[in-house]
């Protein structure tokens, strides 16, 4: 066991998999050399495994997406890093039309064992091009799994499972959590399943469902509300697509009061789909309208700090929304 940040846990997971399987390679903008990526996730990997397994690419995201597909086809396990999730958009064609369709298109003869890593999320003064939650853009593409860890433990176990997957996994990393979150992480060779949500706190009064930074707000808010006599069930979605319907619906039915939290825009987010699933499956257990807490429906995270704060879901907003639902 070692105390690790979220970022260190991701690096550790990649490092373990690169040591375990020599076909694992990692690349992206500034990923190789001494820099080790814009956030330093891959720092030291080039030195440890050589420049042929950890290397830089040109500033061409479409190429990162396509290279991963090609490497996957010839037997590598490719990890392509997009410097920011915002920059993934030029690669969408490779991700959706090529990577996610490969198994289906070839009747299972070929697969695309790829991990696309994408740092996402706001609250880092990143402005329009460095703060977005683009997971919804790629959400709902059968064949393209999207996962995101919300804790260091899950970060290591999930990246390892993603690297071992024979099909493409889009791995979203919340960049504000990179150094914010610390946890004792086991040295064991464990994996976290790619298709399971996780109940991270049990409670009887309300169910809060979220992922990323806002999940950690919800956990803190749950402790505040506990002092007021309300116990919240908190669920980490983890598997954004496909969604773990069973766990989500179970948790919704347990309390009948559901709050869905995301830092994405309110409408058309992944929470919208979760809401639809709960409405379909749990009507007769619902004790209150399904509520969503999210950013406003404005184009992107603003740069001005006051506006960025206004946009972001924070602990106080989550606490208030949870209290309101508990009292309903």
């Amino acid at each position: 066991m070692a105390m690790m940040t979220y970022l260190e846990a991701i690096r550790k997971g990649i490092e373990e998999e690169m040591a375990r399987d020599e076909n694992v390679v990692i690349f992206g903008e500034d990923v190789g050399g001494v820099k080790g990526g814009v956030f330093g996730v891959t720092k030291g990997l080039a030195e440890q495994f050589g420049d042929h397994r950890c290397f830089n690419t040109p500033l061409t995201e479409g190429e990162i997406g396509g290279l991963a597909v090609g490497l996957g086809l010839v037997g590598y396990r490719a990890i392509g890093e997009f410097q920011f999730a915002d920059y993934i958009l030029p690669a969408v064609n490779q991700l959706i039309s090529e990577a996610s369709r490969m198994r289906y298109r070839t009747k299972g003869d070929w697969t695309a064992p790829i991990v696309y890593r994408a740092p996402y999320g706001g609250g880092v003064r990143g402005g329009l091009y460095h703060s977005q939650s683009t997971e919804k853009v790629l959400f709902g593409q059968p064949g393209l799994r999207i996962v995101t860890p919300s804790s260091p433990h899950d970060a290591k176990g999930l990246i390892k499972a993603a690297i071992r997957s024979d099909d493409p996994v889009l791995f979203y990393e919340h960049k504000r959590l990179y150094r914010l979150l610390k946890e004792e992480v086991s040295d064991d060779d464990y994996v976290v399943p790619l298709d399971k949500a996780n109940v991270v706190r049990e409670g009887e009064d309300i169910t809060v469902i979220g992922y990323g930074m806002v999940l950690n707000h919800a956990l803190k808010a749950a402790e505040t509300l506990s002092k007021e006599g309300y116990e919240a069930e908190v669920v980490d979605v983890r598997s954004l697509y496909p969604l773990d319907k069973e766990t989500l619906v179970k948790a919704a039915k347990k309390t009948g009061k559901v709050l869905l939290v995301t830092e994405d825009n309110l409408e058309g987010s992944i929470m919208s789909e979760i809401s639809a699933i709960i409405a379909e499956e749990a009507l007769f257990d619902l004790d209150a309208p399904i509520k969503r807490l999210a950013g406003p429906d404005s184009p992107s995270m603003p740069y001005a700090i006051a506006l960025e704060r206004e946009f972001l879901v924070n602990e106080e907003k989550v606490t208030n929304a949870m209290r309101e639902l508990a009292e309903f």
Binding site: F84, S151, P152, L180, K182, L219, K253, T255
Partner: protein, 458 residues
């Protein structure tokens, strides 16, 4: 005080040279940071160049309209103070147009800063820990604003929601309130009312007296100073009251009455009742004849067999006739489902069965649900005319009054003794107009007239 140089900034990708089209300040001017100092022209655009410093413009270092390389010193500025502070900016940010790498650096700094300011610790458990949820069951009918969960649980457990205290917002009954409610503490009377959601207070078919079931404790009464007694209504009475208020406030009623000659039915019954009782084990009453006539008429006039639903008219496929059954203590309105499938004998048996269940308190929810029209035997206690209140959400109720012998004129100009009955129909005037109601009653009347002393009961 220090001297700083402003250079020709990067004006875009692939731009290597640019010129100054005009100076926007003069030598010796006092300027503030970000003030525009010049208009620069490249092959692509004209751009205003802001100052990186506050201070005095000392000297222009290049001529107007002369191409110079990007990065060429352009202006000399004498800054006010703290040259170092300003200078720090100048190193990395020429005119604020920066490279991508520098952008991301400040994001990284922000991440580190935030982590130092407010580190968070987590303990993630990887195991699934979740208590199994309760089984769900489909059923819903609520006239008040209860959540689906509250309605379902109260139905499953036989909870009378009027006895549950709400702890939610504005006294709303929450799921937890229902779950925590002690069913055993519920007043027995109220237990019944969950069974009889389609309850009606009106007239009924009296059922032969039965050994009464254990009497419930009389509700505590109080006396007013003038001697009047105030008795709190029990759960059933409250349920009836709610339903009545809903029916009479939501549904605009209209009433019609016709009289029908049922001499032949009286004759038929007189002839057959003894044998019928012997063979079938149940008494033959007049009521099944009326139900039969109504069912046949509903087939012809589907608009009567409807419900008003928020701007829509629901035409019910099944004909389910609600009938009122009274016991000494309570009144029930069980339903003859798919009444069009029964013969007179079948209707007799079904009415008898439902009355028996009512007497024994064994009617189930399904016996009480789904009525699409009510036929009410008000005549059994001697009424000759009444104005029934429609059983919400149905669209009509027919009151069958008492059968009386009267002299009526014959076509030949004489008189005859006939068995006459008044049929009083209440209609939901949102759905049904007088004309349709009149035609429906006419059909009922004809159907009744079609019975003869030869009619088959089976």
């Amino acid at each position: 005080m220090s001297i700083e140089i402003i250079e020709m900034p990067h004006l875009g990708e692939s731009v290597t040279e640019a010129s100054i089209a005009a100076w926007l300040v003069s030598e010796g001017d006092r300027i503030e940071k970000y003030d525009p100092i010049a208009e620069a022209v490249s092959d692509k655009v004209t751009t205003e160049i802001p100052s990186n410093y506050s201070g005095i413009v000392k000297e222009f270092l290049i001529d107007i309209d002369t191409d110079v390389e990007i990065g060429t010193p352009m202006v000399k500025i004498q800054t006010d103070e703290e040259g170092e502070d300003e200078g720090e900016n100048s190193e990395s940010s020429e005119t604020g147009i920066e490279t991508g790498e520098e952008f991301t650096d400040h994001i990284n700094e922000e991440i580190v800063k935030e982590a130092e300011r407010e580190p968070m610790e987590r303990q993630t458990t990887s195991d699934e820990k979740q208590s199994p949820p309760k089984d769900t069951q489909r059923d819903s009918d609520s006239t008040t604003r209860y959540s689906p969960a509250v309605v379902r649980i109260s139905q499953e457990r036989g909870i009378d929601l009027s006895q549950v205290e709400g702890t939610g917002k504005h006294g709303r009954i929450t799921r937890k309130d229902v779950l925590a409610f002690d069913v055993d503490s519920q007043k027995p009377a109220a237990q019944q009312s969950t069974d009889k959601k389609e309850n009606r207070s009106e007239e009924s078919i009296p059922v032969e007296a039965e050994p009464t079931r254990p009497k419930k404790a009389a509700p505590a009464a109080s006396l007013l100073p003038n001697g009047d007694e105030v008795v709190p209504a029990d759960g059933i009475r409250k349920a009836i009251a709610r339903k009545m208020v809903q029916s009479s406030t939501e549904i605009p009623h209209a009433w019609l009455m016709v009289e029908a000659d049922v001499t032949n039915i009286v004759k038929l019954r007189e002839q057959t009742k003894a044998t019928f009782k012997e063979q079938e084990g149940v008494s033959l009453s007049y009521f099944p004849f009326f139900v039969k006539a109504v069912v046949q008429a509903l087939k012809k006039h589907p608009v009567i067999n409807t419900s008003w639903d928020n701007g829509n008219i629901v035409y019910h496929k099944d004909i389910n006739i609600s009938v009122a059954v009274a016991t000494d203590e309570h009144l029930f309105v069980p339903v003859i489902h798919q009444a069009d499938r029964y013969s007179l004998n079948g209707l007799s048996k079904e009415v008898s069965r439902l009355a028996g269940l009512a007497r024994q308190g064994k009617l189930t929810t399904s016996d009480m649900q789904g009525g699409t029209m009510t036929v009410n035997n008000t005549g059994s206690f001697g009424s000759v005319q009444s104005m029934g209140i429609i059983n919400h959400p149905q669209a009509a109720i027919l009151q069958v009054e008492s059968i009386n012998k009267r002299f009526v004129p014959t076509e030949e100009g004489g008189f005859k003794a006939a068995d006459m009955v008044n049929l009083c129909l209440s209609i939901d005037h949102r759905i049904i107009d007088g004309l349709q109601a009149g035609r429906f009653l006419q059909t009922v009347k004809e159907n009744l007239g079609r019975f003869s002393d030869e009619s088959d009961l089976y």
